[in-house]
Symmetry: C2
Subunit: 429 residues, 2 copies
C-alpha cells in the first residue's frame, strides 16, 4: 500500500506529501492499538500494585547528559540536534533520565526510591528486520541511597511473573545469574571474567571446540578451559546448580537468596549486560519461542548516577521492551485481537438518560451517528462493538429499549434498569 | 537549587554534568506526578466512556509532513533535524499526525472515526512566563468521510463538561460561537469577517472608540461600525442571543442546534482560531480565573487532511492542554496534592500471603525495605501512605497483623481476612 500511495503522490497529486510513517517508526490500527494499550495497562497497574511511583521525564535532554552515558554503538544511534544555542538529544533509554532525575532531586525523594516509567525511547538504528527506531520501554527500578537490600533483587521476579502471567498464555521462564558468582569462579582460575564471557557467548555458534581454540589463543591453560566449559554447561534444578557451585567453592550466596525467594531458574550462561551490572542479572524467555530472545531483562548495579552525583546510588531494575514484544507476539498470534473501539454499547436513536447511565456504570457507550439501524449494525460489526441498543418509535412509545447481542444475534426488548443490569453483567464477564 | 548545583558542577565535580532539565522542559516530583496522572486518567477514561478509540502516532514525522501544515510562527518553533538522509521533525500538535494517519489508513478505518490521543508535543518557543516547549495535549476528534452530523458538534461539550466536573471543583463555562454566524453577519454589512475580527479582538484593550478608529481606517462606514460594535456586545441567555440574531436576520441555525443540545453558553466574541475552523468553535474558561484563558478549545473544520488526500474529511474536535492547565491549577492550589506513591498499605515484616492478597483485591501494597518499625513509619509518613501493616514476633505467633491508620494514628490487631476487608473498604472510600 505504501508503494501505491507513493506512486499516486508522485504522479497524480503532486501537491500532496508521503503519508507513510518513517522507516523504523510504527503506528497501529485501532484493533492493534486496543490490544497494545491493554498490555500497557496490565504492566502499569501491576507496577502500581507493588507501590512503584510513576515518573515521566522529558523526551529531550541536554546532549551532554545523554552522551555522558552512551558508549560505542549507542552513541552513533542518538538523535541529536542544535536549536538556537542548545544541544538537544532524544533519550535512548529510560535509565539515563532516571539517573539524572535522582541526582537532580536527591534531597526531595524518599529512599528506597521505587519508580516505574513507561515511555518511548529513540535509537537511530539501521531499521533492519524488525528493529524499531521509536519504541516503548516499561521500566521499574528500586534505587537505594548508600545501600539496598537483597530482598529487592528477589522482589522483581515476582512482579515480572505477575505481569507475564497476565500478558501471555504460553509458558515463560525468568532466568537469573550473578556477576559475583561469575567473578568468583573465573578469578579462581586466574581468568578475566570478560575474556571468558566473550568466548562463552559464542558457545551456541562455534561449539565447545571453537571456544577452546579462542580461549587457548588468550593464553588460558587447557585445565582452566576444561573447567570453564564444564561450568558453562552446569544444568539442573536451582538446588542442584547451587550445590555444584558450592562443591566447586564458587561464591553463590546472593544467587541462592534470589533463587530461594523468587520464581526464577538459575542460568549460568546469561552473559548479556554483565559489563554494566554488578550482581543479580535477569532475562526472561518464552519457553517455546526462545528465538525471540529475552523479553524482560535487567539487573543490579552498584552506582546508578556516578556521572551526575557523588552520592552512591545502588539499584536494581528490569525493563520490558513492549513494542518489540508486541510485534513478536502478534506475529505468532499469541495475542488475541478483539474490538477496534472501547465502545461496549452502541445506541441507535434518542435514548434519553440511558447512555449517560451506562457510562456511569462503567460501560463505554457511543451514540450512533446515524438513525439508520442497518447502517449502525454494520458499523458495530466492523468495530467489534458487542451490544447495540435500538430505540425506535415503538420502543419509545412503550418506554423500552431493544438490546441486540452482536455475537449471538439475539435481541430482547427491556426496560431501562434491565438494560443497565444486563450490560453491566455482560461487560464484566 | 539549580544554581547551587551548577556552581558545584563547575568548581568541585568537573567530571559531572548539569542535571537540571532544559529550559521549557518540565518534570514533576512524585506527589505532583501522582496528581497529574490522576487528571490524565480522568480524561482518558471519560474519552473512552464515549467510545473514542486510542491513537498513538510517532513523535517524529517526515519534516515535509509537519511543514505542510505549519504556518508562520509555528514553523519557526518546529524542532527539525537531519540524520542520515532523512529529514525529521517533532510533532507540534496532535492534529497534523491525525490528518496524516487518516489519509494513510483511510480504507482501513470505520467512519465516523472517533479517536482520542494523549501525548507530548514540541514547540521551540521562547520559554518565557510559563511557556513550555514540551507539553501534553489530550485531543478528541470525530472525523467523517464526506459528511458529519451536527450532533457531533453537540456531543463534544457534554464530554468536556463530564471531564471538567471531575477535574476541578470551581465553576467553568463552555463557550460556543459559529464561523457561519459571523460570516452571515459581516457579509450582510459587506465587511470581511477577518478584517472585523482582527479589530474586535482588541476590544478589551483599545475600547469601542479604538475599534471604531481602526475599522474606519479600513474604509468601513459609520453605520456598519455601529452595527459591528452592537453585535460584539450582544449578551444574554442563549435564547435571548439567538432571538436577537434572528431579529437581525443573521444565520444561526447551527449555533441554535448546539446551544439547545449541549451545556454551553453562546459567546459571539470568540474569534481565536476562526481562520482554521469553518463552523462551531469552542472555548472553555474558569469563571473565577478568566486570566488563565481557554483551557479546552476546538471546533469544526471542513477538511482535515487536504494536504494529504483528495478525500473530503470534515471533522470536529477539542484539545485540552493538560500540562499548562496543571501548572495554572497547582499555582492557584486548585488541585489537591495527595500521596507521593500509589502504595496504600506498607507491610513491615514477613506477612506471608497477605501482600499478594491485598494486591489482588485492588490495594497497591508495598513490602517495606526495612524491618525497623520506626524507620518504616517515617517512610510511610513521608510518602503519604495511609496504612501500615506490622508483623512482629508477637503477631506472627498469634497469626495476626497490626494495622495502623497513619492519619488517625489508631491501630488494631486483626486476622488476615479482617485486614483484607478493612483495607478494601478504606481504599474505596
Amino acid at each position: 500500500m505504501h508503494t501505491v500511495r507513493t506512486f499516486a503522490t508522485m504522479h497524480c497529486m503532486t501537491q500532496q506529501v508521503n503519508t507513510s510513517t518513517l522507516k523504523g517508526f510504527k503506528e497501529l490500527l485501532p484493533q492493534e492499538q486496543m490490544a497494545f494499550n491493554a498490555m500497557l495497562e496490565t504492566i502499569r497497574t501491576t507496577y502500581e500494585s507493588y507501590g512503584f511511583i510513576p515518573l515521566d521525564t522529558p523526551v529531550l535532554e541536554r546532549a551532554e547528559v545523554i552522551r555522558a552515558k552512551a558508549g560505542g554503538e549507542t552513541e552513533q544511534q542518538i538523535y541529536e540536534f542544535t536549536k538556537g544555542t542548545t544541544d538537544y538529544a532524544m533519550r535512548f533509554d529510560l535509565t539515563v533520565p532516571l539517573a539524572r532525575y535522582v541526582a537532580e532531586h536527591e534531597r526531595e525523594l524518599a529512599f528506597p526510591f521505587r519508580r516505574y516509567a513507561i515511555g518511548k525511547v529513540y535509537r537511530g538504528e539501521r531499521p533492519q528486520a524488525g528493529r524499531l527506531r521509536e519504541f516503548y520501554q516499561c521500566d521499574i527500578d528500586i534505587i537505594g541511597k548508600g545501600e539496598i537490600s537483597l530482598s529487592a533483587d528477589a522482589e522483581l521476579p515476582h512482579i515480572i511473573n505477575d505481569i507475564f502471567s497476565q500478558l501471555i498464555t504460553v509458558p515463560f521462564t525468568i532466568r537469573v545469574n550473578n556477576r559475583k558468582t561469575l567473578n568468583s569462579f573465573f578469578s579462581s582460575l586466574g581468568v578475566e571474567t570478560d575474556t571468558a564471557l566473550r568466548a562463552l557467548d559464542k558457545l551456541d555458534k562455534i561449539g565447545p571446540e571453537g571456544v577452546r581454540t579462542e580461549l587457548t589463543e588468550q593464553g588460558i591453560s587447557a585445565d582452566a578451559i576444561d573447567k570453564i566449559l564444564a561450568f558453562a554447561t552446569i544444568k539442573g534444578t536451582n538446588a542442584e546448580i547451587l550445590n555444584t557451585l558450592e562443591d566447586m567453592g564458587v561464591e553463590c550466596a546472593e544467587l541462592r537468596y534470589v533463587a530461594e525467594h523468587a520464581p526464577v531458574q538459575i542460568d549460568l550462561s546469561i552473559a548479556r549486560g554483565l559489563a554494566y551490572y554488578t550482581g543479580t542479572v535477569y532475562e526472561t524467555t518464552l519457553d517455546d519461542y526462545l528465538e525471540i530472545g529475552s523479553v524482560c531483562s535487567g539487573g543490579r548495579y552498584d552506582n546508578l548516577a556516578g556521572m551526575y552525583t557523588n552520592t552512591a546510588l545502588p539499584g536494581v531494575g528490569v525493563s520490558i521492551g513492549l513494542s518489540r514484544l508486541f510485534d513478536q507476539l502478534t506475529a505468532r498470534e499469541l495475542i488475541p485481537l478483539g474490538a477496534s473501539t472501547p465502545t461496549r454499547v452502541l445506541v441507535v436513536g434518542e435514548a434519553g438518560e440511558l447512555p449517560s447511565a451506562l457510562r456511569q456504570s462503567g460501560t463505554p457507550t457511543e451514540q450512533a451517528a446515524t438513525d439508520d439501524i442497518s447502517k449502525a449494525l454494520k458499523y458495530a460489526n466492523k468495530l467489534g462493538i458487542p451490544y447495540v441498543v435500538i430505540v425506535g418509535d415503538e420502543e419509545r412509545a412503550a418506554g423500552k429499549y431493544t438490546l441486540k447481542d452482536m455475537q449471538t444475534g439475539e435481541q430482547e426488548t427491556l426496560e431501562k434498569d434491565a438494560i443497565l443490569a444486563q450490560c453491566q453483567t455482560k461487560t464484566t464477564t
